[in-house]
């Protein structure tokens, strides 16, 4: 009954292609921006794929100077950019404007050919990671922030998983007075916006000496995530065959042993999924990090501060964002198998 006719098949393929395009095209353009030089950024229309090299047109001028022309691709041909014979100026210009790292002396040496052969074009390979280097160079806070983000995410996963899955197990397996109230309470803390507690939390963490620390930040991020973890795992624990657990008890296994050997492996996908949520909460948050940290910023906060409210130099912020995105993607990629199992036995 699941055989598709040709119309359904076409419709599905189109939907699929549309989905992938809508997700991928903005990403491609964005990645290209992160590899774009300052000059590339002034170009319009924008390229879908980054350029690997830059071409300039050089005319020898009287004395030791050269006039440099660049074609912006607007159809008006080469535009005069600068006229100079100073090695340092050329080097800086090539680095800032074209992301090309070539020494000024080498440039002058190349250009001297025009004295004999007349005006000509020169192509130079771009330093592909110029924006990335620049991001970490402009913002001295960026490298420690990357480390901080990893630490706070791990803390959050650890706290949420330990406390959350034990609560999830209790809710799934025990009938006790206050179980309903507990469910409601967990729902409330899960929904509770972290921004609502961030400011008083800051005051409290200052008293505890945990302000501006990653542990302090993780304590906040764990508030919704413990509840979320318990909710995700409890529904899985309910689904796990109770007869199997009971069989294990009959064969003399203790409740703890049964939990470790039978229940936990079965619940692993759920725990992996909730860890992903914990990670994403910690990694992606900016507002609480803004309130709860001072010197020890997280990467997401650094990227937020990098852009300010202008668009100039956005290619550096874009490069920083790529650094921010990558670990999140890798993490998602690592646990995709478990998400797939949750998803209903789809192998990914």
């Amino acid at each position: 009954m699941d055989r598709l006719n040709i119309v359904q098949k076409t419709l599905m393929t189109l939907t699929l292609a549309f989905m992938v395009l809508v997700v991928v095209i903005p990403l491609l353009f964005f990645i290209t921006v992160s590899f774009s030089s300052a000059t590339d950024m002034t170009e319009f229309p924008k390229r879908l794929l980054p350029t690997r090299s830059v071409t300039v047109y050089i005319e020898p001028v009287e004395g030791d100077t050269y006039e440099l022309f660049y074609d912006y691709g607007r159809g008006d041909g080469y535009t005069s950019i600068i006229t100079t014979g100073v090695a340092d100026r050329l080097e800086t210009h090539f680095q800032r404007q074209y992301s090309v790292s070539v020494s000024g002396d080498k440039l002058l040496e190349d250009f001297s050919r025009t004295r004999i052969e007349g005006p000509m074009t020169f192509s130079y390979k771009k330093d592909a990671f110029y924006n990335f280097k620049q991001f970490f160079r402009i913002i001295p806070n960026a490298a420690p922030a990357l480390k901080n983000s990893i630490i706070v995410s791990l803390y959050t996963i650890l706290i949420s998983l330990t406390l959350g899955s034990s609560a999830g197990y209790v809710i799934a397996r025990y009938r006790f007075a206050g179980r309903e109230q507990l469910n409601v309470a967990l729902l409330i803390v899960r929904m509770f916006p972290t921004v609502g507690i961030s400011i008083p939390m800051a005051v409290m963490l200052i008293k505890m000496g945990l302000f501006d620390t990653m542990l302090g930040l993780a304590l906040l991020y764990s508030i919704p995530n413990i509840a979320l973890t318990s909710w995700i795992t409890s529904s899985i624990f309910i689904g796990i065959n109770k007869e199997m657990e009971e069989a294990a008890w009959i064969f003399g296994a203790s409740r703890v042993r049964t939990f470790i050997n039978i229940t936990l492996p079965l619940a692993f996908p759920a725990m992996a999924a909730s860890s992903m949520y914990s990670f994403l909460t910690a990694w992606n948050d900016t507002i609480s990090a803004l309130i709860l940290t001072n010197e020890n910023q997280t990467l997401s906060l650094v990227v937020y501060k990098a852009i300010g409210t202008t668009s100039s130099g956005i290619q550096y912020a874009a490069a920083g964002s790529i650094v921010l995105i990558l670990p999140a993607l890798v993490f998602t990629f690592i646990i995709r198998k478990y998400i797939g199992q949750m998803w209903g036995g789809v192998e990914l």
Partner: protein, 296 residues
């Protein structure tokens, strides 16, 4: 059976839950109470029921922040949900591109909001890639200056950005719900002469209800707290939201006594709104909720 029982069974759940209780008592209840205390005391420390709310209501852009937050939450959830449901139903088959789809759908969800904001800012700039695409397809002749969007169009712009981010993951959640659908359930329905629409309405939708419930709750809560994309794409005060105001008073004008009070009050207000949305939602879905509990 071995009888090495050390702890009575009745106490066990409470014992296991004790660390969780303790955690929430210290790190949730205490800050919440002190936050509430701040909201109901004036700058000189005397109790006042309304003074901070009056301060907030008379602060710049209060009305707009409330309206924008409500509009954003309702519209974005509605739009994303309808698109995701449509896509989920269309794509709920075993097909060769499933891996690719899953992978691509996971990307926007995995991207940090601050990075999403920068991604879209590079698109929304006058010489950005959105104008490149639109002009390349000859849909427009002159570049649109998206970043000058004001008032409601600014909110709509942010809804588009938000939808790009979360719709694929909502779709994944819904497909997950659909995959949980027992095949024999469907076959049985066919056997009894049900048509496709009846199966969708009576078998598929009820199966999806739990995943629908969860995704709507999650989305609403997140949508009510939108701020990063607003501030980073448009700047402070261009498209004010409740949490955007909190960030504004913490980040843009820190250190002033009234801005601290305003930040407290705005975050209190956000909390109340989020909790109200939760309660309203639970009331609406109470019926299904009870059925689920009885079934489990």
């Amino acid at each position: 059976m071995k009888h090495t029982h050390r702890i009575p069974k009745e106490i066990m759940p409470y014992l296991l839950l004790f660390p969780v209780f303790l955690y929430y008592a210290v790190f949730w209840l205490v800050p919440v109470l002190s936050g509430v205390k701040e909201v109901f005391t004036t700058l000189d420390g005397t109790f006042s029921l309304f003074s901070n709310f009056r301060l907030m209501a008379s602060s710049d852009l209060f009305g707009q922040a409330v309206f924008n937050t409500a509009a954003f939450a309702v519209l974005s959830v509605l739009i994303q949900y309808l698109i995701a449901l449509l896509l989920a139903v269309l794509l709920n088959r075993k097909f060769s591109g499933a891996k690719l789809l899953m992978f691509a759908s996971m990307i926007p969800m995995a991207i940090t909001p601050t990075a999403t904001a920068i991604l879209w800012k590079t698109g929304l700039m006058k010489d950005g890639w959105i104008n490149t695409i639109l002009m390349g397809m000859h849909l427009i002749q002159v570049p649109i200056v998206f970043l000058n969007a004001e008032q409601f169009s600014a909110v709509l712009l942010l809804i588009v950005v938000d939808s790009w981010t979360v719709t694929p993951s909502i779709m994944i959640i819904l497909i997950a719900g659909l995959q949980g659908l027992q095949k024999d359930q469907k076959e049985a329905a066919y056997l009894f002469g049900a048509n496709k629409w009846m199966i969708f309405r009576d078998v598929t939708l009820p199966t999806l209800k739990p995943s629908i419930t969860t995704s709507i709750i999650m989305r609403m809560i997140a949508a009510l707290q939108v701020w990063a994309i607003s501030v980073m794409i448009l700047g402070y005060s261009k498209a004010p939201f409740l949490v955007e105001r909190v960030a504004f008073y913490v980040d843009a004008i820190p250190g002033v006594d009234t801005s601290t009070k305003l930040a407290y009050t705005y975050s209190f207000m956000t909390t109340i709104v989020v909790l109200l949305a939760t309660v309203v939602y639970l009331k609406v879905s109470r019926k299904t909720g009870h059925q689920e509990k009885e079934a489990s």
